[in-house]
Symmetry: D2
Subunit: 356 residues, 4 copies
């Protein structure tokens, strides 16, 4: 109930604060007998970790995962996989200046209202550092979902958007630039934008698009646990996310039925895919795609007035090493959460596939 677990049959529970000794998690329900590729896991960690390029925070973290259980002789055993990621670069003193301060548009105030006590160092539990654990679990889910392809990429930064449909993009180019945009020309503009904002000590928002391919038809649960509803929750649970749309999304709300309906081909595929690969909450075998909105990072390097826990006005200024734009580092997190949802729903599906 306390909100630190995700999934039904493939379940991730995370723990840890940004400036404790370590963060970690438990994956319960991973099927037995999967040979794990540990380099692939670390590769995903590296895509998320700080310090990877000039346009992200220059904080340094090794972000190496240590596994404690559920794996024997390189294979999953079906028992829970416990892991830790040590916080090697805690520098707690950096945060003493905000001990009693409620930073604007952060979770300091609300955590205090909820719990009456909080680990104020670096956001504590509310820090996006927690998402490193999601990337571990997502990387394992990806290995388990061999045939499914999940590609997320930066689709906009501020008002710079990719102006092509995703079908015209080459996903193999996503990792070819620091902003993780597969369109080279747009990527360049986005990087310039982030650099400019960074110089101003400011931050900027953006969107990520995610495309999931090769999910068979028939995955998803009806009514409350529709596949896209769970994907939406997964994305909205990522720090800084403000919106989610799939298929035609908010544009679909402007359309007429005669324009919006996806005509069937005789093999059950559809000629258009405004449905976004999901109908009635269940996959139809077409590409599942969605878009996620991220707000600008709340910590800027500009001076801001705010209040402290006594309700007094104080002045504060963020110190170095913050992300000017979360989007490039959020790409692997979006993929990880998508992988967790699909893995979970694929396992749920299994109960229906065998004859009785």
């Amino acid at each position: 109930m306390a909100g630190n677990s995700f999934g039904k049959l493939f379940k991730l529970t995370t723990f840890g604060e940004s400036h404790g000794k370590a963060i970690g998690g438990v994956i319960d329900g991973c099927p037995a007998g999967i040979t794990l590729d540990f380099e692939a896991i670390q590769h995903e960690m590296n895509r998320r970790k700080p310090g990877q390029s000039k346009i992200v925070t220059q904080r340094k973290e090794a972000d190496e995962v240590e596994f404690y259980s559920g794996i024997f002789e390189g294979k999953t055993t079906g028992t829970p996989i416990g892991f830790l990621i040590h916080n090697t670069n805690q520098k707690s003193k950096d945060y003493s200046h905000i001990k009693d301060v409620y930073r604007p548009s952060h979770a300091d105030y609300t955590y205090d209202k909820k719990y009456g006590v909080r680990d104020y160092r670096g956001g504590g539990r509310s820090s996006a550092r927690e998402t490193a654990c999601r990337v571990v679990a997502g990387a394992i889910a990806k290995q388990f979902l061999k045939h499914v392809k999940i590609n997320a990429f930066t689709s906009s930064v501020g008002d710079i958007f990719i102006d092509k449909p995703y079908q015209d993009l080459d996903f193999s180019k996503i990792e070819s630039n620091d902003i993780r945009c597969p369109d080279a020309a747009t990527a360049e503009k986005m990087i310039a934008k982030v650099s400019e904002v960074k110089k101003q000590g400011d931050t900027i928002g953006g969107t990520i698009m995610c495309v999931i391919q090769n999910v068979p038809a028939g995955i998803g649960e009806p009514v409350f646990d529709k596949l896209h509803a769970e994907l939406g929750k997964a994305m909205l649970s990522i720090n800084a996310v403000k919106g989610f749309e799939y298929g035609s999304g908010f544009c679909g709300a402007k359309m007429k039925g005669s324009e919006h309906n996806d005509k069937f081909n005789e093999d059950g595929s559809t000629q258009t895919n405004l449905s976004g690969g999901v109908q009635g909450g269940i996959s139809n075998g077409m590409d599942i795609y969605f878009r996620v909105a991220f707000k600008p990072v709340a910590t800027t390097l500009q001076k801001q007035e705010t209040i402290n826990s006594s309700g007094e006005t104080v002045e504060m200024q963020g110190k170095g090493r913050h992300d000017p734009c979360v989007v490039p580092r959020a790409v692997p997190i979006v993929e990880a959460m998508a992988a967790l949802v699909i893995a979970d729903y694929m396992l749920l599906r299994r109960q229906e596939t065998k004859d009785w």
Copy 2:
């Protein structure tokens, strides 16, 4: 797991197909001792029911709720509340022509892929008729949330939008027109638009905005079960929904941190509210507001080509009595789902409020 339940402590489970004898549900976890206002429940049902105005389906359903348990001498007893809503207007023969047909952008194809069998009459379980049960539970949740105010309204139809911030609207006017838009001039245009589309045998999409007021600070769970993530899932689980955004939403993704941060007043309230009343997944005491996108209804009265379950191309045409636009009837559903989420999270909150 099978997706027909919603909530943790205040839990709704629904059952029923659009053309079975009845639909119904069970509310488990409603606190004891609440005196129920049955007229208020029926009032919410009437706001959702078909046939209520010229711009909705002319199908007739009494949509009267029959309660079987959990209520004694007018008060809730803390035990589960079981209820039925009889399907009085089934007309099953209307649907014989679609027995083997997969209607475009409906759930016929995906239900068949998932279950291998389906009640094809009127969408069966995938019909929005199921949402009547949500309105029952939401109406009870509203009574339990005495101090919280939940107001949803139509914010756009096609490309006709309300062009004012919600603070300038008079929520007492929501019920004063058939489209449920509190701005009279815009409402008129919306109604004209729906009427026009209806004449063409077509349908149109729209958006609903919802504002939740008087939720105390400190409600919500961190990490995966953030308050807005659960609201998002709740909304995305409603039939025809394609997107969800809260606070600054997708617009926030275009902004800079220096523009987006909500400055605190000394009492902990904020001067702006781009956060949408939620920070780090926890309410901050400000208004919670969000927007939900609905696609156009898939059933039009125009001829369409589609396929049947043998993969053959067939021609089909929707018959009368369908909604040209779901939005006005969806307003009470959005409110109901919002009420369920808030009630549930208020109950979860209680564990933290007493000293140890």
Copy 3:
């Protein structure tokens, strides 16, 4: 959370008070495509229903199940199965004399302490009438578990015990007498005992043994959700149950390891079965068997002193139509709960059975 649901993938939620209009339930997660045998369901209901023989309560209830959803053309559709059982013989006036009275060893006092309000008529929600819903769900689970055989029977009444191992009993004889004991000579003594107790206006306890056969090896979850732990919880959730033991049970606690270990045959079966078919919480393919203790019914026809809700001493006397011994009517309930557990764990098992 509120305790009215059972199961993970095959989930039953029940509602209803003994003297409301109806009791009912929802089965969520029953696989699609199962052709239901409605007579078999009613047969199980008849085994539980009052008035079936001279040694049970003479109250009359038709106990006919009405299904509302999840079944189409005789087959399950995979969507939730909602059902009602109408309370045809409510006679609420019978209970006015206990409105404010706390009957000894009933749940009147505790329900009042928990909820502050209760439906006092006939025990309300705490009445064993609720178990009729379990029998419906169990009967469906049995149909889904074609190959598994579940046989429960009365193993003792008071101090009259069957003195044979279950392997020497003919389960086809269970229904041949009113007490549901497959050993004719013992059955006769048990029936005489119940009749004698009944004449005294008294009641008596007993035990039920249950044997589950043909469960494949490998069913069950480790650690907290061990197969026998879930069976234990299922049985302890039945009204009047005071104890549960499986395999060697409490006798095993007196034994030495050298006596207790079950030696393997070369095919993986074991020569003895003190383990009761479960090792480490997982089935080993041998018979699963357990024993359940039921206390004597608390309502006797003798005068008793007790208190009312004001703490005053009052005299009360049970009126006719109560069971002198619950055990014969509890046999189908034990089987139903066993079927629910096995069905649920068989479905959970499926996720592991397919190669990746």
Copy 4:
């Protein structure tokens, strides 16, 4: 679903194999603001740990808990508490001889059938070493349940029983002897029995009684999640447990209603307590007490014939350092599981205690 979590609002998830680097767990839902007594936690660990006396295994483990999160400046923060217990004495080579061997009445065979792969070293996940994590969580739950007293003790070893009601025992004497029996004379006989069995290279079973005092009336959920049903499941989930009974238990099944009913005093307490403090699944304010049966440890030092994974007969012999009787070390585990159940149900109760 995969069975490694326990609890609803106060939830423990454990991971780890007996011979991995560490075992550990996550406690999610512990209220914020509790000042933790770490010595008290270690004290409970020491009561469970191997090597503490002559009548338990002589294996050495420090069993020191390392906390990683959820605690700040000595207080719980409401966020998940992650912890590890390092396995300092793994000696994996000890187990090479059983790599392919299915030990009788262990979980080797069933884990293989379920998962197809297993960490065979020392029982892996099926080892009772996992229970150390339960003791950590139980020790924290105990601190949170300040007013509730939980005392478990050894009530029998083989056929040596305490022959007094628990009311005549002095719980402060439980820790005064190695077997954890508060009756000195009986304790002596029990210890002699265990020593004798140990000399024979054999093992022996026993029972533990647990008494929970000061639980207020009104705790528990009706129907499936009755308080005693959850306690039963908790106990049955402990390694080697074969049975559970509460209140009158199996003896109650031999009694008449006129003997068994607990008469009320005018203050709502009862003159006798055959109900065991629970009526209708809800606490009535009286002592809650139950008894748990443990089988003899399966690993003996005597030669046994068994099979290997190829179905061939092989001879095996347990090596040193096993417990001749689990009961003394299981006493703190029983208390820990009882504390987890009570803490969880106390938190569930909170939702009902505030006026609406």
